[in-house]
Assembly symmetry: C2
Homo-oligomer: 471 residues x 2
Amino acid sequence: MARSDLPEGFIERLKSLVGERNVRTGDEVRAMDPGWDPANLGAGVLARPGDTEDLAAVVRLCREAGVSIVTHGGLTGLVGGAISAEGQVILSTARLDAIERLDPVERTVVAGAGVTLQALQEAAAPHGLDVGIDLPSRGTATLGGMASTNAGGVMAFRNGVMRHRVLGLEAVLPDGTIFNDLTRVVKTSAGYDLKHLLVGAEGTLGAITRLALKLDPMPHARASALLSLPSVDAVLDTINIAIGMPGVDLRAAEAMWRPFLTLTSKALGWADPAIDLKAPVFLLLTIGGAEHGDLQNGLETLFEAVLDRHPDVGGLIAGSSLQEEEIWRLREDTDLVYRAFPAAPSFDISLPQSEIPAYLLRLEEDLAAIDPTLEPLIFGHLADGNLHIILNRPGSLDPDLRKRIEAAIYRDIASRGGSFSAEHGVGSKRIGALRATSDARKLDLMGQIKAVLDPSNLFNPGKLFAEPPSS
Amino acid sequence: MARSDLPEGFIERLKSLVGERNVRTGDEVRAMDPGWDPANLGAGVLARPGDTEDLAAVVRLCREAGVSIVTHGGLTGLVGGAISAEGQVILSTARLDAIERLDPVERTVVAGAGVTLQALQEAAAPHGLDVGIDLPSRGTATLGGMASTNAGGVMAFRNGVMRHRVLGLEAVLPDGTIFNDLTRVVKTSAGYDLKHLLVGAEGTLGAITRLALKLDPMPHARASALLSLPSVDAVLDTINIAIGMPGVDLRAAEAMWRPFLTLTSKALGWADPAIDLKAPVFLLLTIGGAEHGDLQNGLETLFEAVLDRHPDVGGLIAGSSLQEEEIWRLREDTDLVYRAFPAAPSFDISLPQSEIPAYLLRLEEDLAAIDPTLEPLIFGHLADGNLHIILNRPGSLDPDLRKRIEAAIYRDIASRGGSFSAEHGVGSKRIGALRATSDARKLDLMGQIKAVLDPSNLFNPGKLFAEPPSS
């Protein structure tokens, strides 16, 4: 189905649909920021339709011409979900950037797929509202991309992931029709809920054009603390103490293992006498509430409760927003890791919390058996069991080594009730892991559903599925 | 495809699969409680497999024999989703009643589809945990049925609906294979999330056998108040004041319009000087927290804040658990309405909150134009926009009148961003409304997906779809 060049006259027809200046080719494309992966812009042709109708017209044109489509949001994906090749067209949602309706009574928003997370956060804040999901890439990640990849972030344990925030959506399907299910209600039991197919489909079933999202009240104040703890069990215990504490509204519980914090703290020149950097694991907590002073007291009480049960704990309560930024930067500035180990192999798994201690022990042994110098840099959203694992190796691994490491990382994730891909998705780089860890019926059905919605494999070929799923 | 009798020897083969005493026929079936609709037991033959493997064997037997299957949970559905007819087999999940794993560290549970909501509530409570969904039919509603119908209830505005609570599931598909996606994590971005097709499919795509659910911390104490208010706007305002109040953890915000409360308060002989029963609308609030006394103070503060903005408000803070039960009974004992108007026509819609005042004004006019004596008894979960509307008419409506009334109720729900079926589902009784209010592409795709998973229309024929969706 795939072709490596565009049919004659295609660019001209594209320009007639979306306007000359909304079609970019050649140097114009090469001058753009490709995001995480230079191959994202491989197609060399990009169309930026200004509304859903125009986008649908582009899809129909591509369908007639047999040109496949790679939809682009903010290009913050890490698994090659947005890479494109010659003969394809990049469909940019950048101009679908209107926040159409933000309703503080309903606590909902209807917005275009191209709106960035940060733009929505800034629009919601004056109403005392919050998007309920936050990501370090907030400045570029778009709502459409976040829905297509089912983005997670630091608040999933309390607010759910993107799937749980989407009340309704509109999408252009591969046949060029518009699917409209823009409800703004959390309760709907009206037949198969097909928006949940599009959420997380990574652009393989169509292009999301508009979304209705749930918003949440934003606390007036927040306070953060960094704790050093003797074990993962102590971290889990601390999270549960925080969740159960009256008056404490836990908003983030990020764990960092020693090798990770050692690297980021050194790179940032950070140290604090209250934190023993030799502790095995660290927990960054943020709580929300009405008054900053009460929150600081809440963190004190929490710290004492934890100290009662784990005498080895150390803790630092951020006394200023500068100090809060500093301790958050230790966690969020993951570029520091990639600067130390450029293009390091990274993994994004989730596990039920009770499984984490045994999993990590097992993984450590398996990695050591492969190569005793392999050190996993681990951090993650511990309240929802999401661990990011980056290896201390620059660049791609030798294929055989990679295979052995992947086998070690993914081996028992499914049997432990976890997921090999917590929030980064499958894209083009995790297809092998999807196939290795998923229920066989699930893989069959995915292919059959793809064939129903996109029989010509027009949308994002080579992502999620290795081969055209059916013919 | 459907047959009106069972093939020869079928019952014997069924018995050999699940054991003689787990197949019920004839008088044994007639002696059973049919739940809301006597037609539920119409098939006259019921099998109760004891585990997933046995259930899968029953499905394969039915498939070979061309016998269609109606899966039964607690039979609390109101839209004919569980009715069955001669020639079909009822697949009961009653024996899939094990709470297999309840993990207080993870705050998750893995349980069989036949576990009742109340059984799970009782198992979770000693760990300080709550299911996060509550329904008046908690004693009979099963987890499998709640997932199949995407149950909602009073806490959806804060906790989401059943779809948002399901972390993983196992199901037997119409081809007799077992689909296993029993993750216990909130974060998974691992291809199409097919559990979201099974959730809300009302038994048309297979039988859910096991579920992994998220649990939430249960507050130590709770307190409730009943308010009489001058308008829906005032109710919405009150809910938002409550949601924004520090230290107030709003757990329920149930509205009752005057005709509804007039009926239930009279039937229960309830009155209180603090509540003006002539007010247009009433709000029942429950908040949770650490100390009952603090919560009562919280409700006082809330009441004063509302009084500042709406001088016509009246309010009663329940001073004892007996009084709390009394005011909750005014809302939950909807049988009182059906006793006054047996088998009264009822509707279950959801609307974005901002749309509710205009919608109700419009509906009132339209109903009055049809028949000035028509009075809708309205109550609902106002924080999520879910309104239940019961008409003051006993029994079925004349078909022409029903058509006009349905048109009036459903007319502008989709354009307002709402849903014609908030939490009751479609079953066999709301197929017309589904077809009248849904996006055409959604209806097409539903049929195509049904054809992929259940090409022989084996599971729950005549529900969701009027006709076999394809051949």
